[in-house]
Structure formats: structure tokens, C-alpha cells
């Protein structure tokens, strides 16, 4: 019964086409299929907030079945979800030091989650995956490592989140099944989907390329974002094959919980160097190594010079 109530109160992101809009409070909409949730259908919906929609407009919205007629919330004109190369020109890109973008997503229970607010006060590890990913070394590997992190990071200080790259398929119901498959606990690990237009904008903002290879497969960038408790991105790991042990060390350091002061200093140094290089991990590490190389060269040269002075005292 609780399950039924939860289902009734939950929101489902949908895409559809307006067939007729009598006024700004109601419209007849043909919605696309939502996997494991509902077939494609034509129904009359209440619009909340009232929205002027023209017949023939393609829209994204959140479906709320708890009312009669059902309600489409926050309906906006939007094309069909079509990922591709990120278009950072249209948006403010997320880089080291920037705050998370404001975006309303839906978790596996159908609840709204504001990306920029929901995880405030916790160190967040954020990745992008899709549930039909067939390559065991990519998304399933990331979720497998999340399962490992979940057992080692205290949910009081840390949060894990995965955003789907395939919102038309990855409905809240699909995410619920995926989460159960990895033993995800809702207090520490959040799976997020959203409308196609919202996710497409996030891919632009987080600069993630995603190419549709077939109806059910994508070729995409893998990035792990570690976001500090103040909501600022502290680290970006640009691979799916990150080491969970290092991720834990890095997350604990960002949270100010690293127990080894040298490790904390090293990670702070790396983060600072990356920030100086405009968020580029490669350039940051190159800068650090160049500095270290210069430092060692100068020190050894001075050392040798001092030794030479001792061995061959000056003629003066």
C-alpha cells in the first residue's frame, strides 16, 4: 500500500507532443512510452503552472498521476533528446571551483532533486552513467565502485550520485531496479534522471560528449566530479577506471577528513595547481611536475656547487 501511495505521489519525466491546447490550464498531449511505467498514450492533462502551449509543440514535462485529470508540471517546449558533442558555448561550463548548476532532476522514487541544493553540506561524488550500458568496464564498473564507496564513506559527510545519460529510457522505475541490482542505499547513493532537455543541458555544462551508437547504446565521456561541501567542484577525474581507494582518499581530503597530513597536503597542492591552470587536470599536474623539476634542479646544482667549493677552495 505504501508502495502504491509512493507511486501515486511521484513524478515521471516525460516527452510528448501537444495535440490541442484549449487554454493555458489544459492540453491534450500524446506522450512517448516511459519504460516499465506506461505506454505511449493520448490524454488530457492539467498544466501546472498554467502554460501557453500551441498544438504541434513538442514538450518536456513532469507527469503527476496523483490528480485527475493527470497533471503535467513545468511543461516546456523541447525537442527529442539528442545527445552529441557538448556545446559549452551556450552554458556556463562546470569547472574546478564552480558551483553545481541549478537543475531539477527526479530520483528513483520520483522525487524532485535540485542538483545545486540537495547535496549541500556533504562531499559529493557525481558521475554520469546509463543502465543499458553493455561494456562491463564502463558504467557497470563505475556503479560497482560506487557500491564499494558506499560501504566506506559515512553518509553523514558524503553523498554518491549518478545522473543518467539516457533519460528517455532510464525512467525512475528503471533506476529503481538498477539501484536494487547494486544494493544502493537511498541515504547515501542517489540515482537521477530528468527531462531530456535538462539532461542535455547538464551534458553541455559538465562537458560530456555522448554519441548515440544505436537505440540502446551510447559512446560517452567518463568523468568523476568530486564536489566539496560548500557546493564547489574540487576535483574532476577524467576516466572510468579511477581507483576507488584514491577516490576515497581524495574525497576524505576534500572533506577535511584525511588522516595522513602529507596526503592532505599533496591533494591540496594538486587541487591548487589544477585551479591555477583553469581547471585542466593535465596542465595542473604538468605545472606541478615542472615546478618540482625546477626546484630539484636548482637544489642539486646549489648542492654540487657547495661541495665543489669545499673540495676546490677558491684561489683567493
Amino acid at each position: 500500500m505504501i508502495g502504491v501511495l509512493a507511486a501515486l505521489l511521484s513524478l515521471v519525466p516525460i516527452h510528448g507532443v501537444v495535440l490541442d491546447a484549449r487554454n493555458d490550464a489544459a492540453a491534450i498531449v500524446r506522450t512517448d512510452t516511459v519504460p516499465h511505467t506506461m505506454p505511449s498514450q493520448i490524454r488530457r492533462y492539467a498544466l501546472e503552472p498554467p502554460t501557453r502551449l500551441r498544438a504541434g509543440t513538442s514538450i518536456d514535462a513532469f507527469l503527476d498521476e496523483s490528480t485527475h485529470p493527470p497533471t503535467l508540471r513545468d511543461a516546456v517546449p523541447a525537442g527529442v533528446f539528442a545527445p552529441g558533442l557538448p556545446n559549452p558555448g551556450r552554458v556556463v561550463p562546470v569547472e574546478i571551483g564552480s558551483t553545481l548548476p541549478a537543475a531539477t532532476l527526479i530520483d528513483s522514487q520520483g522525487r524532485r532533486v535540485r542538483l545545486d541544493r540537495a547535496f549541500a553540506g556533504k562531499t559529493l561524488l557525481l558521475s554520469f552513467v546509463f543502465t543499458r550500458c553493455p561494456d562491463r568496464t564502463l558504467c557497470p564498473a563505475i556503479s560497482g565502485k560506487y557500491a564499494y564507496l558506499q560501504d566506506r564513506l559515512d553518509p553523514k559527510h558524503f553523498a554518491l550520485a549518478e545522473i543518467t545519460l539516457d533519460p528517455p529510457y532510464d525512467s525512475p522505475a528503471i533506476l529503481r531496479a538498477y539501484a536494487a541490482g547494486y544494493g544502493a542505499r537511498s541515504e547515501s547513493w542517489t540515482l537521477l534522471t530528468g527531462t531530456g532537455s535538462t539532461v542535455q543541458r547538464l551534458l553541455d555544462e559538465f562537458r560530456i560528449s555522448s554519441m548515440r551508437l544505436s537505440t540502446d547504446n551510447f559512446l560517452h565521456d567518463d568523468k568523476l566530479f568530486i564536489v566539496a561541501a560548500d557546493g564547489r567542484v574540487a576535483s574532476v577525474v577524467e576516466t572510468a577506471s579511477w581507483d576507488p581507494g584514491s577516490a576515497i582518499a581524495q574525497a576524505r581530503s576534500i572533506a577535511g577528513l584525511a588522516n595522513n597530513p602529507f596526503e592532505r597536503f599533496k591533494l591540496a597542492l594538486i587541487a591548487e595547481a589544477i585551479a591555477i591552470c583553469g581547471g585542466s587536470e593535465f596542465a595542473g599536474i604538468a605545472l606541478l611536475e615542472l615546478t618540482l623539476f625546477t626546484f630539484l634542479t636548482v637544489v642539486s646544482f646549489l648542492g654540487m656547487w657547495a661541495v665543489a667549493r669545499v673540495i676546490w677552495p677558491s684561489r683567493t
Binding site: 490541442d20 484549449r22 491534450i28 488530457r44
Partner: protein, 184 residues
């Protein structure tokens, strides 16, 4: 040259009304009525059509919907003659014209026009696809089967346009109000 262009002109002429209708025209389909006569939606222009989908072995929802639509139509009084209730089966293998005829007669009221519609499985599937109606056979324990289906009620105005979509939770008053608006 003119002859080569003729099909293009013809195409343009046929496409213009389609484009101008803004996708609101109710998709046309042709089936067989419970009196075994051909029945086409576009031939019903001039009348409002209440189009719904169901099956005669349906225990509660389908008869309740047809009964509600019949009452709502009767409530229009003398304008009831401008309305036709069309019940499309989602179970064409069992719902032959005679079976449908007995079913729709259960809801007969003076002045209320109800037609039961059936066809080949592919014709029914085409009508379901056109209206995005979903149906699926569900096997029952006694060896028989039920057909789970969505049950929208399409209100089509006398010009053949999709005017409103109701469902099984809408009461008789809502149906009457929708019909009055559709009839103008």
C-alpha cells in the same frame, strides 16, 4: 513538364488541409460494425463521436464506461441524435459482430446510437496504434484470458477533430459537458 508537376501539385493540395489542421484531426480508420456493415470514422462527419476501446468479456470497466457514455448522451435530449458512441474491441478473436451486437444492445436507450466495431487483428492493431491505445492479452487461471488495456474516451467533434480526451474516472456530468462543447 506540366504533367510531371501534376502529382506534386496534387500532393501539395492534399497536404495543405492536413498541415492546417495542426495535427488535431482524429486519425481515420475503417472497421466492421456489429451489424456486419463497413464503418469508417470519416463517414461520421456531422455527428460527434465518443470513441472508446474495450472488450465484451471485460468484467467491470468497459460496461461501466459504455453505460456512462449512453446515459450522458441520453441526457442531451433531442441533441442525442447528433452523437454516436463507437466501441472498438481490443479482442477481435472473440468479439465477432454478433457478440458485439448483443453487448451494445445491453446499453440501448431510446435515441442513443451505439456501434460496436471489430475487424482483423491487424486492423484493430492499426486503430490502436493511431490512437496510442495499449492492450495486452493476460492469461487467466481458468485457461481463458483477459485483455488489459488503456481506456481513454476520445471526444471527436462533428468536423472530425479530436476535441477532448476523457477517461474512466470522468463522471457523467463531465462527459455531458464535453459533448455540449464538441457539438458547439
Amino acid at each position: 513538364m506540366v504533367r510531371a508537376l501534376a502529382p506534386l501539385v496534387l500532393l501539395a493540395v492534399t497536404l495543405v488541409p492536413v498541415a492546417c489542421s495542426g495535427g488535431r484531426s482524429a486519425p481515420d480508420f475503417a472497421l466492421r460494425s456489429d451489424r456486419s456493415a463497413p464503418w469508417q470514422l470519416s463517414a461520421q462527419r456531422g455527428k460527434a463521436v465518443l470513441l472508446t476501446f474495450g472488450f465484451t468479456h471485460c468484467a467491470d470497466t468497459c460496461p461501466a464506461i459504455v453505460a456512462r457514455l449512453a446515459h450522458a448522451t441520453a441526457a442531451l435530449g433531442r441533441r442525442a441524435g447528433n452523437v454516436e458512441i463507437a466501441f472498438v474491441t481490443v479482442d477481435p478473436s472473440r468479439d465477432t459482430p454478433p457478440v458485439l451486437h448483443r453487448f451494445v444492445n445491453r446499453f440501448a436507450q431510446p435515441g442513443v446510437d451505439i456501434v460496436g466495431l471489430t475487424g482483423t487483428p491487424s486492423q484493430i492493431a492499426a486503430a490502436e496504434t493511431a490512437y496510442h491505445v495499449w492492450s495486452e492479452k493476460v492469461h487467466a487461471h481458468n485457461g481463458g484470458y483477459d485483455v488489459a488495456h488503456s481506456a481513454p474516451i476520445f471526444v471527436i467533434d462533428p468536423n472530425g477533430r479530436l476535441h477532448d480526451v476523457l477517461d474512466d474516472e470522468d463522471n457523467e456530468g463531465t462527459v455531458v459537458a464535453a459533448l455540449r462543447r464538441a457539438l458547439g
